[in-house]
């Protein structure tokens, strides 16, 4: 018979292990980032100089008057790959990520300006997604194979199998077109004037938080209104996966021997569920939650396009379409950083949830 046992060893040693583990993972960060940059550069490197030129001449109308070959020379698109990569790397090491043609400003500032918006949207969406996903998943598992279970699963899957843009347009149609509740954009005209005025101090770049910190509850509400549409879209489209994983994890755990043992011992059903079952069901759930949040951070492009919001997703998408490689590289590096840190947190949470997992 198996029993989950408590921490292995005195608290101090365990803590030290954690710190070492974190440090070791962080040491790999530069290597990871380097690998990312190389991978992307290789992909872009397969493109010919004229294809790369598309960044500067991005529509047929701009072919006017363009002396294409001279432009290729000017931007060094004909140089061997190594040299082009070397140039980029040299600049990065000096802290210069290059110029973003899509954002029309240096890459670093373009990313830093847009990231708070994406972060804000992600946070506001992550809460309902994780909450709904896990609680409904547990509910479904507890009512296994009964109507509630089937109903919940179908409800979730229907949302998940619609492409986001379809659902997003529905939301736009009903909640903005008909009801006028959730308008597109970041803020209304009057709210934006306030935010851009000199009295308003930008602390985090996230509109909701800054509005509260500036004591402007009206701006806060306006920002919420504009967030509601995208959050609604993202929630319905994303929570299904989490629901399923939670449900299947719970089901598996509910049948595990030690749960049966606990039940046989006569322990209160609720204790069985909360203390033993949930804890062990949580590892795949943590993985998927982490993946979802990280995915949200870079995958909000469609929602951003439809609701016309600022964000990193649409920035990177536009950069990829136009082959603005400085932006692509910079954006990917940034995202890579987030991912590594995010995965580290998820892995750490494995250890917190199930101390049996030895962090090697």
């Amino acid at each position: 018979m198996l029993e989950p046992h408590g921490d292995c060893g005195p608290h101090g040693a365990w803590f030290a292990l954690m710190i070492f583990y974190i440090l070791r993972r962080l040491l790999f960060l530069p290597l990871t980032l380097f690998g990312i940059s190389l991978l992307i550069f290789l992909m872009i490197g397969f493109l010919g100089p004229y294809q790369r030129l598309a960044t500067f001449i991005n529509s047929p109308e701009r072919l006017k008057g363009a002396d294409v070959d001279k432009l290729v020379e000017l931007y060094g698109l004909n140089d061997p790959l190594i040299i082009q990569y070397g140039r980029w790397l040299k600049n990065v090491l000096r802290g210069n990520l290059g110029w973003s043609y899509v954002g029309k400003e240096p890459v670093l500032s373009a990313i830093l300006k847009r990231f708070p918006y994406t972060l804000e949207l992600t946070l506001f969406a992550a809460i309902p997604i994780i909450f709904l996903g896990t609680s409904l998943g547990v509910l479904a598992a507890l009512h296994h194979n009964r109507p509630l279970d089937h109903g919940l699963r179908i409800f979730a899957v229907v949302g998940w199998s619609f492409p986001d843009f379809v659902f997003g347009l529905f939301v736009l149609m009903i909640f903005y077109g008909t009801l006028g509740w959730f308008p597109p954009g970041n803020l209304s005209v009057w709210a934006e004037e306030i935010v851009k005025s000199p009295h308003f101090r930008n602390f985090t770049g996230m509109l909701t938080l800054d509005a509260l910190l500036n004591g402007r509850f009206d701006v806060f509400l306006d920002a919420l209104r504009h967030l509601a549409g995208p959050v609604l879209t993202l929630t319905y489209v994303e929570f299904a996966f989490l629901l399923r994983i939670t449900r299947s994890s719970m089901l598996e755990v509910l049948r595990k021997e030690y749960v049966r043992t606990a039940r046989a011992k006569g322990l209160d059903e609720r204790v069985v569920i909360h203390k033993h079952a949930k804890r062990n069901a949580l590892i795949p759930v943590a993985t998927v939650s982490g993946q979802t949040v990280i995915g949200l951070l870079a995958g909000t492009v469609i929602v951003e396009t439809i609701f016309n919001r600022t964000g990193l997703g649409s920035f990177i998408a536009l950069a990829s379409q136009q082959l603005d490689y400085a932006s692509i590289m910079g954006g990917s590096l940034f995202f890579g950083l987030i991912l590594v840190i995010g995965n580290l947190c998820v892995d750490l949470s494995y250890a917190l949830i199930d101390p049996r997992v030895r962090l090697e």
Binding site: L47, G48, Y50, Q51, R52, L53, A54, F56, I57, N58, S59, P60, E61, R62, L63, K64, G65, A66, D67, V68, K70, L71, L74, Y75, W99, Y101, G103, K104, E105, A110, K113, R114, Y117, F131, S135, L169, L172, M173, Y176, G177, G180, W181, P183, P184, G185, N186, V189, K196, L221, L224, R225, A228, T305, I306, F307, N308, T310, Q321, Q322, L323
Partner: protein, 613 residues
């Protein structure tokens, strides 16, 4: 926990219910226009797209402007008179233009406008001449060269890249004096200050010169010399001017700053939201705009633009033709029309690059086409007969467009309803195919690939229509229609790999030369991409005519010359002009004072509109 959330949810929705009542006219003194995309740069000497031009046009001013909706009549703007032969301000048979400069005009930062500012603006632009920029028009008009570097090479005798390196530094001191002399001999005297006027000296008469200067031509905007120098631009000196030539787009401080004399000031260009905000210039010397604020916002998704127009959160939105039915009849929305000076044509590549993958087998064996497929006039004529022009305009453009006999759009000199056009006639197409390549083509058949750039529905449909009609003539004829992303298209186009391409042109200035030169001259932007064989043809048959027509100043004579050029184009089926489109503009009914001008970049005359029920 759950109960708390339910309560929170109810509070949330309750708060939403306390919404502002729908006002009659939303944002009454702010105009909100939703566009596609955003400006490229606000530097007038770099910008060459309509989005940039739209902003530059209302923040900066030019010497003269078009009168109302006309493209042939002018009114003074920063000059006090429009130069004409009659008032003596056009002299030497059209080689000298004199512009008396208005007094009492202030830039947005308070500096006074002086003739030195005008001289500086033009000279800086010419010396700057960035690649892919618009300055070629002024350089061609004043000096007859395509680029500054060509000009320098011709006069100094050495290539630019041999004299100056990428950073703008001289490669050797011996070039310094040569370049200084170049400036003082050629550039400086071309634009001079004489008292209160600025005088332009052209190397030869150039008919459309005034159009190149008129308001809407962002490259002729007037900048403030002091501001520019303080921003680090050319200091106005002969020594060292080469350092300021051809900067990269992002290096120019003017890319996001705009200090002009215009009716609006630039408040902000928020690039994270693709939004430009303008505010009224209360010190404007002329009639002040009625609007206090203008917001030009890039919203790329049509459904979003449309719903904002419906809700009144936008006053006007960019409306692609195919969605017209969605806005016609919307309450509170009106649709207006206008016809720009633009045409779309299908042109042939007479000498396709041998490694092109769009040639099939590359031989006349039924599995491909030889690289010089289109050098046979019968093939070109056959294609010209095989396109159903009228059905295309009726169904794809919904009637918003009309045919043009050649590349000159309606509204310009040289256009004539009487010029011959190819009708849609499959019988004749068949005949021509049978004559092509000594009859071999009809026997063996052919296979080629037509590319279009994804995102452009009209062009895609045109390719598909052509394919259907031609394939119906002979089962051995096969045309594959493929959509590719823009970078791939650009690459193929540039390397001469496309056997044929559909391409449009929007007038830089309202003169036939702008179109004819582009499409038919051996050095034209599109002329160079139609293959070696075409260039030879153009050199022998068209170049001289085209050059004469631009130097002629008598409109009647020019009309005759351009008609002759177009007849040659027709007889040799040099290209297939498909249509001149009309545009539709959807706006709220509370917009008043809206006016159309074909040369205006952007869709709104912000200085003249206002909003009221």
């Amino acid at each position: 926990m759950k109960r708390f959330l339910v309560v929170l949810g109810c509070v949330f929705f309750a708060l939403l219910g306390v919404l502002p009542v729908f006002a009659e006219v939303k944002n009454p003194d702010t105009y909100i226009y939703l566009s596609i995309g955003e400006p490229d740069t606000l530097d007038p000497h770099y910008a060459y797209d309509t989005a940039s031009g739209e902003v530059i046009n209302f923040v900066y001013e030019n010497l003269i402007a078009y009168k109302g909706e006309s493209v042939t009549e002018f009114v003074p703007r920063l000059a006090t008179e429009v130069p004409t032969v009659e008032n003596g301000l056009v002299r030497d048979g059209g080689k000298t233009y004199v512009f008396p400069i208005r007094k009492g005009v202030k830039f947005h930062n308070g500096n006074e406008l002086t003739p030195e500012d005008v001289e500086y603006s033009f000279e800086r632009g010419i010396l700057f001449d960035p690649y892919a920029g618009p300055m070629w028009m002024l350089i061609e008009a004043l000096f007859g060269y395509e680029t500054l570097e060509d000009f320098v090479k011709d006069k100094v005798g050495i290539a630019w890249s041999d004299m100056v390196d990428e950073e703008g530094n001289l490669k050797s001191e011996e070039y310094r004096q040569k370049l200084i002399d170049f400036y003082t001999t050629y550039i400086d005297p071309a634009v001079e200050v004489e008292g209160d006027s600025v005088v332009f000296h052209l190397s030869r008469p150039f008919a459309p010169f005034l159009s190149i200067l008129a308001q809407n031509a962002s490259w002729s905007a007037i900048l403030d010399k002091e501001t520019c120098i303080s921003l680090g631009l050319w200091d106005g000196q002969a020594d060292g001017w080469w350092k300021y030539h051809n900067w990269k787009k992002e290096k120019s401080p003017l890319y996001e700053k705009a200090i002009g004399t215009g009716p609006f000031k630039l408040l902000e260009w928020d690039r994270t939201q693709q939004k430009v905000t303008l505010v009224r210039n209360d010190e404007y010397w002329g009639e002040k705009p009625k609007l206090a604020k203008v917001i030009i916002w890039g919203v790329d998704e049509w459904s979003t633009r449309r719903s904002m127009l419906e809700a009144g959160d936008a006053d006007q939105v960019a409306t692609p033709l195919q969605y017209l039915d969605q806005v016609k009849g919307l309450p509170g929305v009106v649709v207006k029309e206008g016809s720009r000076l633009t045409i779309t044509a299908l042109h042939f590549n007479w000498t396709v690059a041998k490694d092109s993958k769009y040639l099939g087998s590359g031989k006349l064996d039924g599995e491909g086409i030889p690289p010089d497929f289109f050098s046979d006039v019968h093939v070109r004529k056959a294609f010209s007969y095989a396109f159903d022009y009228d059905t295309f305009i009726a169904q794809v453009l919904k009637g918003y467009g009309h045919r043009v006999p050649s590349v000159i759009p309606r509204g310009l000199i040289g256009f004539s309803e009487n010029l011959p056009m190819y009708p849609f006639d499959l019988e004749k197409a068949k005949e021509e195919f049978q004559k092509a390549w000594n009859g071999e083509l009809w026997e063996k058949g052919f296979k080629l690939t037509l590319l279009y750039n994804t995102g452009n529905e009209a062009r895609q449909t045109a390719c598909e229509m052509l394919k259907e009609n031609i394939e119906s003539l002979n089962p051995k004829f096969r045309i594959e229609v493929q959509g590719v992303q823009w970078p791939t298209y650009l690459d193929a186009y540039r390397q001469g790999q496309l056997p044929a391409f559909i391409i449009g042109w929007l007038a830089d200035y309202p003169d036939p030369h702008n179109f004819i030169f582009t499409y038919y001259h051996s050095n034209g932007v599109y002329g160079t991409t139609q293959g070696e064989a075409f260039r030879k043809f153009a050199e022998e048959n068209l170049d001289a005519l085209i050059e004469k027509a631009i130097e002629e100043t008598d409109p009647a004579k020019r009309q005759a010359m351009y008609e002759e050029i177009q007849k040659i184009a027709y007889e040799n089926a040099l290209g297939m002009p498909l249509y001149q489109p009309e545009e539709v503009y959807a706006m709220r009914s509370w917009v008043k004072g809206w006016m159309f001008n074909p040369m205006r970049p952007g869709e709104v005359n912000y200085d003249g509109v206002w909003k009221e029920e």
